[in-house]
């Protein structure tokens, strides 16, 4: 069965996917292509956030933690692939040599294998999300406290990454990475191959989550956002669904993080920073937290706008962006996507007011 809303959503998804996949036909410049891949990847991360926040009502201020963990997993693998260029004689990454580490730590060992590393890049964020979700949602913690706990988790991971300089590269993070090569295909971040990898991941995730939100489980997630108690009274295990949404969201963020480390060719603690994490929330809210596509577009648009500005204007841009964001929260809580809705609503309201005026004049006449 297809109503007009689902039809519109389907058309939106199709146009977006086609546009994203056909873009390289128009662009030939490697640098621009690399920039666009980066925007798409940030869009992918925001898509994940929208699933947890917009759909299930989990305001996760620590989304960048999952993103950053994915990025570090990929960076660890790609660093070990540079042997022996950026490593010491023992196959140790350069920063470990500088920090007098003599043997590769045990948790680095699995990152010699690409499939293990990729599994870890998605699996570790998912595992963390399940554990944290179990810890938090089983106790029926909601709202502001979820925001504070996720923020604390983010800060903890960030501090640990900086503190364990011997194993994580500290402030500088893991730099000078190799290119990912899988099955003989080399993903040079400035190539069309890499663009298709990021665009493909985004389209697959978007369609996948889009379908998921239209299943029964997806509907329950939205019901939980609107009123968890009622869903509980109907006999559903609310926390299980919350954990599911949280884990999916974390997995998508992990995937985006892996791609991000590849496109920028490094991973640093700023990927797990409070600023990036809250920026993702901003992008999501600007586009429209209640729609997966709108949230993704929000991230892409804000970043594309930011990327097209000159260095000198960047500071003023941040100021404008902050103001713009405050206005959106105040007047368009559903994001830019709801502009049409707002205009329609206004029009309907003026119509109604006119009808009321008409009827009251009639009544006044009748009395007189």
């Amino acid at each position: 069965m297809m109503n007009s809303k689902s039809l519109r959503t389907l058309i939106g998804y199709t146009i977006f996917s086609a546009a994203v996949l056909l873009l390289p036909l128009l662009i030939d410049d490697a640098y621009t292509l690399n920039k666009f891949s980066r925007y798409l990847i940030l869009g992918l991360a925001t898509l994940g956030l929208s699933l947890a926040w917009g759909y299930t009502g989990i305001l996760n201020l620590g989304h960048a933690a999952f993103f950053g963990l994915g990025a570090y997993c990929m960076a660890m693998y790609l660093k070990l692939q540079t042997v022996p260029v950026h490593t010491g004689t023992g196959g140790l990454p350069d920063f470990m040599v500088w920090n007098n580490v003599e043997q590769l730590p045990w948790f680095w060992e699995p990152f010699h294998w690409s499939y293990l590393a990729i599994t870890a890049g998605i699996g570790i964020p998912v595992l963390l999300a399940v554990m944290l979700g179990w810890f938090v949602f089983r106790a029926r913690i909601a709202g502001v406290f979820v925001a504070i706990i996720t923020l604390a988790m983010l800060v903890i991971i960030n501090l640990l990454l900086i503190d364990q300089q011997r194993y994580t590269g500290g402030f500088n993070g893991i730099t000078d990475l190799a290119w990912l090569t899988i099955g003989g295909i080399e993903f040079d971040p400035y190539s069309k191959t890499f663009y298709y990898l990021s665009a493909g991941s985004l389209v697959v995730c978007l369609l996948g989550t889009g379908i998921f939100t239209h299943t029964k489980a997806g509907l329950i997630l939205q019901a939980i956002r609107n009123d968890p108690d009622r869903v509980r009274f109907l006999g559903y295990d609310v926390s299980a669904y919350q954990i599911l949404a949280f884990a999916l969201s974390a997995g998508i963020a992990g995937l985006a993080g892996m791609l991000y480390a590849m496109v920028l060719e490094f991973a640093s603690p700023t990927f797990v920073g409070v600023s990036l994490s809250l920026s993702m929330v901003i992008w999501c809210a600007v586009g429209g937290r209640g729609s997966l596509l709108a949230a993704t577009l929000g991230a892409i648009l804000v970043n594309a706008a930011q990327g097209s500005l000159s260095e000198n204007f960047l500071e003023t841009w941040q100021l404008i962006l902050g103001g713009f964001f405050v206005l959106i929260v105040l007047f368009l809580p559903k994001g830019l996507i709801s502009i049409g809705e707002l205009i329609r609503w206004r029009r309907k309201r003026t119509d109604r007011v006119q009808v009321q005026v008409l009827s009251s004049t009639k009544r006044a006449r009748g009395i007189s």
Partner: protein, 289 residues
């Protein structure tokens, strides 16, 4: 023994700064339910105001405290009237809006005062150190402790012994009933936000001479301050004070045994555990919802 005493003192001095920053936040969150992520930026504004007054008007640190309180307080009032008051029925959105405000304030300062670090000088009388019981204490740290104590006392008196405080407590308990009794909750909320912002401003002025002053300094404070508020429990000045004392001492102790970063990590984990098992905080009184 000497190590022990100086450790306690270090802890107290961390605690006093935490408390200074958290006090305003606790009042705003406790009474209005607003998660104010721009709070760190109020601290930053206070630090810059102090630097500005010293640099261009030649006003010393101590006299500028009152001026800074009024300046940052009025900025807070304008923000509450202009933006925050529209969001009382959407508490989670206050997190987003105040973060946006924070970005704006940061950028405004960066554009006007520059991104480089600024330094605030201490008056002669405070930059010395004294020997007590054979241990060296910095006079300025003692001064901060003293001012923090005074501010706590003032806040407590304001909340418990004035008409304004009574009205605010009435609104916190039941806004509709308070309004029915003729209390103008809009006005009280405006003043409360201004008061919280002003306290953050004073905190900024006091930390300016010992920490570096930069446009993004606020971000470091706001998360820590939230941990204090959560630990202390909502709506209790004494709880906030006790929580910052605990956090300060534990951080100092852990930092002595391990290092600063790990100390912070452990403290944060402990606070997360606490939210899980006792979300009302350690010291909150029973409130009927």
């Amino acid at each position: 023994m000497e190590v022990f005493i100086s450790q306690i003192f270090t802890g107290l001095s961390i605690a006093s700064i935490l408390l200074l920053v958290a006090l305003g936040l606790a009042i705003i969150y406790g009474s209005m339910g607003v998660i104010n992520l721009a709070h760190g930026e109020f601290v930053m504004l206070g630090a810059y105001a102090t630097w500005f007054l010293q640099q261009y008007a030649g006003i010393g640190l101590i006299p500028s405290l009152v001026l800074v309180f009024l300046m940052v307080g009025s900025i807070g009032w304008v923000i509450e009237r202009g933006i925050v008051r529209h969001l009382y029925h959407r508490p989670l959105d206050t997190i987003l809006a105040t973060w946006g405000i924070g970005i704006m304030l940061q950028q405004l300062v960066r554009l006007t005062a520059g991104a480089e670090l600024r330094y605030v000088e201490l008056p002669e009388s405070l930059s010395r150190s004294v020997d007590l019981l054979g241990i060296n204490f910095s006079v300025y740290r003692l001064f901060i402790l003293l001012v923090t104590g005074l501010l706590i006392l003032l806040t407590w008196l304001l909340l418990m012994r004035t008409e304004y405080g009574t009205k605010l407590r009435a609104i916190t308990q039941n806004r509709e009933m308070a309004e029915c009794s003729g209390i103008d909750s809009q006005r009280i909320f405006g003043l409360t936000f201004a008061f919280g912002a002003g306290l953050a401003g004073v905190a900024g002025s006091l930390v300016a001479p010992i920490k570096s002053v930069s446009p993004d300094m606020g971000t470091h404070y706001v998360v820590d301050a939230f941990m204090v508020v959560v630990l202390g429990g909502v709506g209790s000045v004494a709880g906030t004070a006790a929580a910052s004392g605990i956090l300060g001492e534990v951080t100092a102790g852990m930092a002595y045994l391990l290092n600063d970063t790990l100390a912070k990590v452990i403290v944060f984990i402990a606070v997360v555990m606490l939210i899980r098992f006792r979300p009302q905080g350690l010291f909150s009184q029973l409130v009927r919802k």
